[in-house]
């Protein structure tokens, strides 16, 4: 479904993405891991068409995303749900208005239907009674849930989730993952999730992609563990200091 081929990007004089190749099949979920600052968010922003690569291309169902502009890019983005690392909730709006904003501007639904959809959406992520709160009044986990609800409210096919578990306590982090898995199954989503809840993350994804030194090391997941001989990936997953890579 998504085919990223030989993607390259230089940012502030550093080769963040050197040669990224990654394929995501329909219905597949990919766990994207890698050290902080390795360019995971940058990669996701390329797939979303928010950043343009220096070289390489991204194909979505045979369409070159990097060459798309205007209306064509908008149609592609309509299929996306994107949950940003920071949540990216509009802080001048309440939770309700955050969810209602895309619905009001981009669909012809009446206010009644919008209300119904939002109530459902918030229930889906197990959030209640926060409609009239502002993002600054929410806890970290609630922000991420609201952001997920906002991403799902437009009925996307493909979802990107940038660090939904970072900065949350282990209990909430795992409940986020479970919630995420449930939504994915129910709505039949394809997607990429950035998370460092190892090994829990392996039981909700079919493939692991590690971004290391500007390149992808991929491996399949089965029954909650990854199958790989790659020493670099093994070392990262096991979190050991000794290995082929010397982390400073």
């Amino acid at each position: 479904m998504i085919r990223i081929e030989n993607l390259q990007k230089k940012l502030a004089g550093r080769d963040v993405l050197r040669n990224v190749t990654l394929h995501v099949e329909k219905g597949q979920f990919v766990a994207l891991i890698g050290r902080s600052g390795s360019g995971k968010s940058v990669l996701l922003k390329h797939i979303a068409g928010l950043m343009a690569p220096d070289a390489g291309r991204i194909m979505l169902d045979g369409q070159n995303l990097c060459a798309a502009r205007g209306k064509k890019l908008e149609t592609i983005r309509r299929r996306y749900g994107f949950v940003f690392q920071s949540g990216a909730l509009f802080d001048s709006m309440t939770v309700y208005d955050n969810l209602a904003f895309p619905l009001r501007e981009k669909t012809s639904l009446g206010e009644q239907e919008i209300r119904k959809k939002i109530t459902q959406g918030l229930e889906q992520v197990e959030l209640g009674g926060v409609e009239s709160k502002y993002p600054s009044q929410l806890s970290g986990g609630m922000v991420k849930r609201t952001a997920l609800a906002r991403a799902l409210v437009m009925d996307p096919e493909i979802i990107f989730f940038d660090e939904p578990t970072t900065g949350l306590d282990p209990i909430i982090a795992d409940s986020m993952l479970r919630l995420f898995d449930a939504c994915r199954k129910r709505l039949n989503l394809t997607g990429i999730i950035v998370s460092h809840r190892i090994p829990q993350i392996f039981s909700v994804s079919q493939k692991v992609a590690m971004l290391h030194d500007g390149e992808i090391i991929a491996a399949l997941c089965e029954n909650g563990s990854i199958k790989t001989d790659n020493q670099i990936l093994r070392q990262f997953v096991e979190g050991t200091v000794e290995g082929p890579v010397v982390y400073q």
Binding site: L50, R78, G87, D91, P102, E105
Partner: protein
């Protein structure tokens, strides 16, 4: 050494030229949202409330004191040449032609412009602008254009308020303190003040409003990363807007008046 200097000059030149080009495109793209509806009136009203309404107190206060000091200084100067009667026109013309538009613009830049830049920069760094774009909502239409329109409308109205309050402040000093006849103060104003002065003042405040909103939005929109980037953008926005307003003021004065 010499070659190095030339190279440096060239590089700085192209960087600035590129930045100028980018900000020009930014302005044109934003304004083109005016031509293609929908226009977000609700957001414009909210922005006017922030830039305009919330600045009225400040503008009244500074306007009054500017008019008062003009009156005080003007009276002492005019007295030496024996034409105190012309105090009214002196205060009114200075305010309407020059001080009203410029001081109001600088004050609003300091109060509202800096906040606008900070707000947009934070939205950029929190990925809120990216999120908007991903929803298929053009941030220029939803964020930047309303700010520009509101900047132009607010600053024009605030300048009128500044002028009126300033003239009343001048009256207070001239008539109540320095015992000039009230009839003389206002009579001479209406005798010497011409439509051209008022129209010129309006031109100025319209363009100052646009310059302020344009530069402040631009600096916020293309901010550097993190809190440091946002704070730098804010400082630059205020400084650049103020300098541009003063340069443009000279230009307009020499061409239009």
């Amino acid at each position: 050494m010499f070659v190095k200097f030339i190279l440096l000059l060239g590089r700085t030149g192209t960087t600035h030229l590129r930045r100028l080009g980018r900000s020009g495109i930014f302005l044109v793209e934003s304004l083109s949202c005016l031509v293609f509806p929908p226009i977000k009136w609700g957001r414009i009203v909210k922005r006017i409330q922030f830039i305009g309404w919330q600045s009225t107190g400040l503008i009244c206060l500074t306007g009054a004191f500017t008019g008062m000091v003009l009156s005080l200084q003007g009276y002492n100067t005019l007295k030496r040449v024996g034409s105190e009667a012309l105090l009214g026109p002196l205060v009114a013309l200075s305010l309407i032609r020059e001080l009203g538009p410029v001081l109001a613009a600088l004050l609003v830049t300091g109060r509202a412009g800096s906040a606008l830049t900070a707000e947009i920069a934070i939205m950029r760094n929190n990925e809120q602008i990216d999120a908007m774009e991903l929803m298929g909502l053009n941030p220029l239409r939803y964020l930047v254009l309303p700010t520009m329109v509101a900047g132009v409308i607010s600053l024009t109205l605030l300048t009128w308020i500044f002028d009126v309050v300033g003239i009343l402040g001048g009256y207070l000093i001239g008539v109540k303190l320095l015992a000039l006849p009230a009839g003389t103060y206002f009579g001479e104003i209406s005798r010497y003040l011409e439509m051209d002065d008022i129209v010129g003042g309006i031109y100025k405040s319209l363009s100052f409003g646009l310059i302020m909103a344009w530069i402040c939005c631009y600096k916020g929109y293309f901010t550097g990363l993190g809190a440091e980037g946002a704070s730098k953008a804010t400082t630059q926005a205020v400084v650049t807007s103020s300098v541009f307003i003063l340069i443009w003021d000279f230009f307009v004065t020499s061409v239009v008046f």
